[in-house]
């Protein structure tokens, strides 16, 4: 039986890291453009964060402090699994605190606490192509991006308006980056879209199965697509968080019993805990 090798720091071999790093640099230089990269098989399934994991593994250093969230929470099973993967393969310090982290890998949310310069937010992306559901062919969508021909997207959004009176997209809401590329923000709720604009942190997006990396540099304009007479609207909640009392966060609806009683709590568990602490300290 063959000997099993011991794995490199952060799992990936150095040649793979170099390849991913080169793609990341290209991605930052062309904000919103999807750079193809030779995505590797990872020890977790495709669709479970392999793109984000490869990006994180390629940038991670021994001094980094890593936070991993899924659905905004640090304690969801896949977040736990990915955090343990990096603890085991790299030994870096991990945290649940958003301000303390130097790298935050996320699936489906942007933290509520504002990000700062020097932080890197790594998104796990299932389908990187914002035009994919309008045009399944890669050869076609590449052409559309090259020609900056986003007509199909505007037609789709306008059809929403004519049918529903407004744009009926609640997550993975398309954005335009630095006035050029239309980009999929990954399946984050559109509530999070405004946080991407002019963000001081670097935002990196990894799609492992689809073999694409893209980026939004710090201080870059990220505009949600809309129409003059139908401007983008952020999802508003009529409720407050039952645990911390926040009125301006994304809330999860928790079904309490068979009669349909519900409560609303922050999806960002770290923010919720901090906010509860703040309330206690100020005697609220």
């Amino acid at each position: 039986m063959s000997d099993f090798p011991s794995y490199n720091f952060a799992y990936l071999d150095e040649q793979t890291k170099r390849m991913i790093r080169r793609s990341i640099l290209k991605a930052i230089a062309t904000p919103g453009y999807q750079v193809p990269f030779a995505s590797r098989e990872m020890p977790m399934p495709y669709g479970w964060g392999t793109g984000g994991v490869q990006v994180t593994a390629a940038i991670l250093g021994r001094d980094d402090v890593l936070k991993v969230i899924d659905q905004g929470a640090d304690d969801t099973t896949n977040a736990v699994s990915i955090r343990k993967f990096f603890e085991k393969t790299s030994g870096v310090r991990t945290t649940t605190s958003t301000p303390e982290a130097s790298i935050i890998q996320t699936r489906h949310r942007i933290p509520e606490a504002p990000l700062r310069e020097g932080q890197v937010l790594v998104y796990q992306v299932p389908i990187p192509e914002p035009l994919r559901f309008l045009e399944p062919r890669e050869t076609e969508t590449r052409r559309m991006h090259a020609l900056e021909d986003y007509g199909v997207m505007h037609v789709k959004l306008y059809e929403d308006i004519s049918r529903h009176g407004h744009i009926a997209t609640s997550y993975a809401y398309p954005v335009k980056v630095a006035g050029r590329y239309v980009m999929d923000p990954s399946p984050t709720p559109k509530f999070d879209n405004p946080k991407m604009n002019d963000c001081p942190a670097l935002q990196l997006f990894g799609a492992g199965r689809e073999k694409r990396i893209y980026a939004v540099p710090p201080y870059t304009s990220v505009i949600s697509l809309d129409f003059e007479d139908h401007p983008f609207e952020r999802t508003k909640f009529d409720n407050v968080c039952a645990l911390c009392g926040s009125t301006n966060t994304f809330l999860d609806e928790v079904v309490m019993n068979d009669e349909g009683a519900r409560m609303y709590v922050c999806s960002d568990t770290d923010y919720c805990e901090q906010h509860r602490g703040d309330r206690k300290e100020t005697g609220a």
Binding site: M19, K26, G118, A178, P217, T220
Partner: protein, 200 residues
């Protein structure tokens, strides 16, 4: 730090940590364009290639990246041996086939258009330039673009006399174009193609 180069001398003493650290400087630099950042590598220099530029070479270049060298570097046996031994990169003389182009002398960069500028469907298929410079200055032309909050003044020495017009041409082709890393002895900075010249 100037250690005489010997055949087979190690590139990085700690390849994992040093290439990661070098990469993070490069990533920070290109995420914050035209902003010099402190960077001093512990790597040995290699003939006309400075210690810092050597670190960048080891971090980014390998057998998958055709490499173009300027006159000073291409004529150095030390550099060629080092590239063959440590990177395994194929050397190319046609600049339009290069994934990376290294300049010992940043003044020799023009014209930029001889390098690969990418294709409309694949703008990433472009050359990245790594050029050694003596120093940076905050008195150059004004730049703006992604990664720059407002406008930033930036210059480097030595620069090609026509650099401003070269750069204006490069960024006008966005998303096609090439990206430049400028490597000083204690600092580095980056000019991605998304960076626009606002005032000269």
């Amino acid at each position: 730090m100037n250690v005489p180069y010997q055949i087979g001398a190690p590139g990085f003493q700690d390849p994992v940590a040093q290439s990661q650290a070098t990469f993070r400087h490069l990533m920070d630099a290109i995420a914050h364009p035209a902003l010099p950042r402190a960077f001093t590598s512990r790597t040995a220099s290699c003939g006309p290639l400075s210690a810092n530029a050597t670190a960048v070479l080891l971090t980014l270049v390998d057998q998958d990246t055709p490499l173009w060298l300027d006159q000073a570097l291409a004529s150095s046996d030390e550099v060629r041996n080092f590239v063959a031994f440590h990177c395994g990169a194929p050397l190319v003389t046609d600049p339009s086939r290069a994934a990376f182009a290294f300049f010992a002398d940043a003044q020799a960069m023009s014209p930029l258009t001889r390098f690969a500028l990418g294709e409309p469907d694949y703008p990433d298929r472009s050359t990245t330039i790594v050029a050694q410079v003596d120093c940076f200055s905050s008195e150059g032309p004004g730049f703006s673009g992604p990664g720059v909050s407002g406008t930033r003044r930036f210059g480097f020495i030595p620069a090609p006399a026509d650099f401003s017009s070269q750069w204006a041409l490069n960024s006008a082709g966005f998303p096609l174009g090439l990206d430049i890393f400028l490597i000083g002895s204690t600092e580095l900075a980056a000019l991605p193609r998304s960076l626009r010249l606002t005032e000269v």
